[in-house]
């Protein structure tokens, strides 16, 4: 899932500026699971905004709203009424939701309430860990399902580096060395010798630095074009 953190109230207040009518829209998907942007967190932000306005002698109206998810146009059409009413919408979705909502409602001001951080999983109640960098060229079959791109501080493909100490990373003694984990896992699977092969330099053209990526399923995309023609 996509993991995010909420922005500080100061940052959010700066973003909404002198807006009198504000809608806070929750996303009930990934960011609900990581306790950043779901209905409850949207309620907390809305409540904070009302209290902040009262404390600072401002008169603003804050509405709360939620969608099943913000990353599909079908759901975002439910925003029409709220956006017509509001001066600004604070999206409690990840960056995908903010992008898509802004694209579908270009005349309306939509600002992010969250900082989108990573693709991760729940490690324990209240803690989420990054698991995937979305690099577009997955090597997990070679590393026992442990991503060296995000779980190794240096993203190296032939580890460990010299900074691995007692199974921990030199960057943070609390962080396990991903390559130590990879070695242990492959050895446990009887595949330790697989690591003798040198992994060539990674093809980063599949990653995010080459501009906006897209995925197209040709037959479906063409069908849509025909339907809209």
């Amino acid at each position: 899932m996509i993991v995010a953190d909420r922005k500080s109230l100061d940052d959010i207040v700066d973003m909404i500026g002198d807006a009198d009518k504000v809608v806070v829209s929750a996303c009930n998907a990934c960011v609900t699971v990581c306790l950043a942007g779901g209905r409850r967190e949207a309620g907390i932000l809305a409540s904070q905004l009302r209290i902040h306005a009262k404390e600072h002698g401002k008169d603003i109206e804050v509405r709360e709203h939620s969608l099943a998810r913000h990353c599909d146009a079908e759901f975002l059409s439910d925003l029409d009424e709220e956006l017509e009413w509001a001066d600004v919408m604070i999206s409690m979705a990840c960056g995908v939701g903010v992008n898509l909502a802004s694209e579908l409602h270009p005349k309306h001001r939509i600002v992010p309430g969250l900082n989108t951080t990573f693709y991760g999983a729940t490690d324990a109640p209240g803690r989420w860990l990054e698991m995937c960098g979305g690099c577009g060229d997955c090597v997990l079959h070679k590393t026992g399902g442990i991503c060296p791109i995000v779980r190794c501080a240096k993203s190296i493909l032939n580890g460990p580096c010299g900074g691995s100490q007692d199974g921990k990373c030199e960057v943070d003694p609390e962080t396990p060395c991903a390559w130590q984990e990879i070695i242990e896992r492959l050895e446990a699977q009887g595949r330790g010798d697989d690591l003798i092969a040198v992994e060539p330099a990674k093809d980063w053209t599949t990653s995010f630095s080459g501009g906006r990526r897209r995925r197209v399923v040709e037959e479906i995309y063409e069908e849509d074009e025909e339907a809209s023609a």
Binding site: L9, D10, R40, G43, I44, Q48, I51, H52, E55
Partner: protein, 129 residues
């Protein structure tokens, strides 16, 4: 004596039972009975302050004497988050957890007296943590 500007969330296994026996302790305060003090979320506290509460009290069981095992400890953690969120707004409502068993009205009385005497939580170093 508490007025209507004080909102209390009281555990049904301890402080709510004490309140039935000694309602004068909470006075005119708004009572919301919860199944466990840990049920109280930061959102509940913020909503109370938003609607005009100057003090929010969570009435919990004593530590080690909770039917849900860790209710009072979790209530403290949730209240700490509520304090941090409230501090961001600049508001200064007083937020407290008081602990007393169902058969210990004196403990509740002492805890409430202490809560009433404390400075607004948002003005203290504790609130900033």
């Amino acid at each position: 004596m508490f007025g209507r500007d004080v909102v209390t969330f009281v555990c049904r296994n301890s402080v709510a039972l004490l309140d039935e026996e000694s309602p004068e302790l909470l006075g005119e305060a708004v009572r919301i009975v919860v199944p466990c003090a840990a049920r109280v979320d930061a959102l509940h506290v913020l909503r109370a302050v938003e609607r005009g509460a100057t003090m929010v009290i969570i009435g919990a069981c004593p530590i080690g004497n909770c039917r849900s095992v860790t209710g009072p400890e979790e209530a403290e953690e949730r209240l700490a988050r509520a304090k941090a969120l409230l501090d961001e707004t600049g508001a200064s409502a007083r937020l407290h957890v008081v602990r007393a068993a169902a058969n210990a009205p004196r403990d509740l009385e002492d805890a409430l007296e202490k809560a009433m005497g404390d400075a607004p939580a948002s003005d203290t170093e504790e609130a900033a943590r």
